[in-house]
Symmetry: C2
Subunit: 152 residues, 2 copies
DNA sequence: TTTGCTATTGAAAATCATTTTCATAAACAT
DNA sequence: ATGTTTATGAAAATGATTTTCAATAGCAAA
């Protein structure tokens, strides 16, 4: 059982990356937030705890974490990337799909998959992997529509 | 049975939009291309047939067509939006999902859905529509991985 | 602990896709 | 044909993300 705190430290070190204060501050923040934060959102929030942080570092750290698979990056069409933790701890995954309002931009996470959903995705992955000789390691699914508020 | 050519003319006019030369040139091009074109790609290609075209107009036209549902806009993570015709004619749909190489950016369309795929998506749509009171009218699915070329 | 190497940082400047502005031109209802 | 808009294109503005570069801080080794 991995420790609840700092499970990413080994991951960083394992990659030969240094365990710096800004990186820890960013990860600390992300693990407490559930929203879909932009780089700037993260910058301002981290700044409250660690005022020396630079926006550049936020971008660089996010890129690193995305490459490591620790953070997921999304584009919901409003011109800025959104980030969120891909996993809540070493083993616990945080995988979900999105429901997006094309009118106001509201984004909803949904994890209550239809029973067959997971298994179908796996099946599809396998089929695609075979047919196109791809090594598939991730996917995104999003539904677009009009939210209750914008319907009125 | 709608005419093969110019089925979008009525659609534009139906919206109270004018049927201009630039718009027709852009639609003409899109209907001949199968790739995932950026606004700039489209700009240069259209320029060959209609040299007076402006990049601004390309952006504006694409936005209009996306709002009309005639064109689909995608973000494959390379910093520029990609566009393609959402339908090849009045009734014929061109819906498909994507397989994206995270190493070189190669994008593959796939339409050979697993049998249950379509029906599951509908089922999921209905479930989400009910649960979150959303009016769902579109979706995107993409799988990320490493393409044959990048594996080597 | 101290040292030395090198990855990392932050500020400022640069990039670059997309948007806005604005004067002119083209659609099209009449 | 005419007049009213809508649409266009050039140029400038915007704004998110990247690059540059000198200074700093992690950390492996002594
Ligand atoms: Mn999410
Ligand atoms: Mn496609
Ligand atoms: Zn909404
Ligand atoms: Zn590739």
């Amino acid at each position: 059982m991995p420790r609840q705190r700092g499970w990413w430290k080994r991951r960083l070190r394992g990659r030969g990356c240094r365990l710096t204060v800004p990186r820890q501050a960013i990860l600390e923040l992300l693990s407490k937030s559930s929203e879909h934060l932009s780089a700037e959102d993260i910058y301002f929030k981290v700044k409250k705890i660690y005022p020396a942080i630079g926006l550049t570092t936020v971008y660089r750290t996010l890129e690193l974490l995305v490459n490591m698979g620790v953070v997921s990056k999304f584009d919901f069409g409003d011109g800025r990337a959104r980030y969120e933790l891909a996993a809540n701890s070493e083993d616990e995954e945080n995988h979900h799909h999105h429901l997006i309002c094309t009118s106001c931009g509201k984004v909803i996470n949904y994890t209550d998959f239809v029973n067959q959903e997971k298994e179908l995705i796996e099946k599809t992955e396998n089929k695609l992997a075979t047919k196109y000789n791809f090594e598939i390691n991730n996917h995104q699914i999003q539904f677009y529509g009009i939210c209750p508020n914008c319907k009125k």
